[in-house]
């Protein structure tokens, strides 16, 4: 299985080089001012997950006002799943629409992006033309590939995501920092650990991390089988969603929680869901990926959408986003490309909160999206039953 990791790493590196060499020409000033002029007066329908109060507030309180200064109105269209937005774009394509679409911008990544890209649903070759994309390290495999699929300028990053864990420092002195340690810990404290059953997004990510860390599907699943009897309810029941695991953790019924949102403890404490004594930790290196925005090819307000996507990369807005008081999610900007002061602000953001990790360690790239389903099937077969 080491070979798998190696091949992934190789692929990542190669892809990074590829993107770097074929990188689109930087946008000319005249070009962008034209976009700005066109965007003026447009209302951008941004379809994004609507169940996170902090993200909604960030959009309403920072993105929308900033866009308004440029004459662009941001209309947040809340969805319960990104696929609702993709479904709409697909339906428009079926109906033969090539312009005037209802979706201008989608918060997207992974499978949804990949399939849409294959079907040619997204606007091509725009992301790297955004003026603020110069702050982004497009050579990074976490940025230029989305679940191993080259982004190719069809989506623009806006949030970093890292898979982290949480514990309550009032209940647990020192959490396990590796999977073998986790197993040992579970054996010593039966019934105090569990994870959501795939296909829940977080549960599936946990399984992928185990597989990656332990060097292969077979080894990963063997580990999970061994872990199972020491889980919550003896492993006979899994939480069916991350919400349920959050609830168990908040209730003190299990000792650890997990999330692909690096700021989930921060936000949970703000919501009143978690006690202030919770702390983040990593088990092995964190899985990392990136949240992007994409523009459908038939979007009615392409210019406006580009302006908003560009704003999302604005160092000031990124600093707000990284600010634990606002969102606390990792920035997608490369500090090395920023003026020193701004870079420091971004770097320092995480250290201002006990609920955020300053060092995510060496990132673990995601597996190709196409492998999700087979892994889930294998997990169901070999662990759940």
């Amino acid at each position: 299985m080491r070979s798998l990791v190696a091949s992934i790493a190789l692929a990542v590196v190669l892809a990074g080089c590829g993107t770097a060499t074929s990188s689109a020409p930087s946008p000319t000033a005249s070009n962008w001012s034209q976009v700005l002029a066109e965007a003026k007066g447009q209302t951008v329908n941004w379809w994004l997950y609507g169940g996170d109060a902090a993200t909604n507030a960030f959009v309403e309180d920072y993105v929308a006002p900033a866009a308004a200064k440029l004459g662009v109105t941001v209309k947040r269209v809340p969805v319960s799943d990104t696929v609702d937005a993709v479904d709409r774009v697909v339906a428009e394509r079926r109906a033969g629409e090539t312009s005037g679409g209802a979706v201008d911008l989608i918060w997207i990544n992974g499978e949804n992006f990949v399939e849409g890209k294959e079907a040619g649903l997204w606007l091509r070759n725009w992301a790297q033309k955004l003026p603020n994309s110069r702050y982004v390290d497009w050579s990074s495999p976490i940025i230029n590939r989305d679940f191993q699929v080259p982004v190719e300028g069809q989506e623009s990053p806006w949030q970093g995501a890292a898979f982290i864990y949480g514990y309550d420092s009032a209940a647990v002195a020192s959490p396990p920092r590796s999977f073998p340690a986790l197993l040992a810990w579970a054996k010593a404290h039966p019934g105090r650990f569990t994870y959501p059953a795939p296909p829940d997004f977080t549960g599936a990510a946990f399984v992928r991390q185990v597989i990656q860390r332990l060097g292969g599907v077979a080894k990963g699943l063997r580990f999970l089988r061994e872990l199972k009897p020491y889980q919550f309810e003896g492993g006979t029941q899994f939480p069916t969603s991350i919400d349920e695991l959050d609830q168990l953790f908040a209730n003190g019924q299990v000792d650890f929680d997990m999330s692909y949102n690096a700021s989930f403890l921060n936000l949970g404490v703000k919501k009143g869901e978690f006690p202030p004594t919770v702390r983040p930790f990593l088990i092995g290196g964190a899985l990392e990926n990136t949240s992007y925005v994409t523009i459908p090819a038939d979007a009615a307000h392409v210019a406006g959408a580009e302006v908003v996507a560009n704003l999302l990369l604005d160092p000031r807005l990124q600093a707000k986003m990284a600010d634990p008081a606002v969102l606390g999610t990792p920035s997608v900007l490369d500090p090395a490309r920023l003026p020193a002061a701004r870079a420091a602000a971004l770097r320092g953001a995480a250290s201002r909160s006990p609920y955020l990790l300053t060092d995510l360690g060496r990132p673990l790239g995601e597996l190709p999206a196409t492998r999700d389903v087979p892994i889930e099937e294998a997990w169901k077969r070999e662990v759940l039953r």
Binding site: D81, E111, E115
Partner: protein
Amino acid sequence: MRSAAATARGATRRVPPDLLRLAPALLVTTLLFGGALLGALKQSVEPPLGGGPSTWSLASWRAVFADPTFLDALWFSIRLAVISSLAAALIALVLATLLRSRGPALKTTFSLPVTVPHLIVAVLAVAWLAPGGIAERALGSLPIGVVHAQSGLGIVLVYVYKETPFLVLLLLSVMGRTLRRREEASAVLGASPSQVLRWVVWPAVRRPLAVGSMIVGAFVLGAFEVPLVLGPNYPPTLATYAYQATQTSPLSGQGKAAASLLVAAAAAIALGLAALALARTEDG
């Protein structure tokens, strides 16, 4: 007597004015409903956008029926529909019998849940019955899981809570004075209470009960937002299967989604017509 008179009156009138009156409703229903079915059908046989076969085919239908998850979803949905409608019908029958001689205040009170949207009932179920919910806080622990229960108990509870009052109202509308009079007439002719129930009350209520339960069953077959909130991770209901099909694969999933929704529609219609036919033949 009344219906005989109505028929006689109808027969003496010419038909065209009535057809004219029906035409707008028929036209709109044909356009909207027919259009919807046609649209779903088209989507289920169209080539997917993302590649694969580029001509119309039954690939989605084949894929759906070859998918064990779909078969589980179909079975799960039917089971939930049957259990929910039977439970609702039974409770409604008992409630209606108890309520029929009571005042309008009590009847109105019992019909209150009719006004609560399904989604809110689901929210309530979560607040009360989820792990860490009120019930668990008050009682320490719950003997059975409800929210996300594998059995689908949460879904059943929501539909029973929400639809039973609807059935009660339906039943009370036929359990009025006319029925009471027939019951009296039968009692003085020597029919015991159980005979009255079997021969007088039951024949009067079974048709609305069948029609009502069939609507409840159809609701459950098409259940979407409630299982999304309360259903188990597996199996999905038919509607959530359709949703998950596009979640897993936004493009190739569309045909499967349409196909599974059409199966749900067909099952619901079949169930409905069967219930109607059953109610009719029992009359004979």
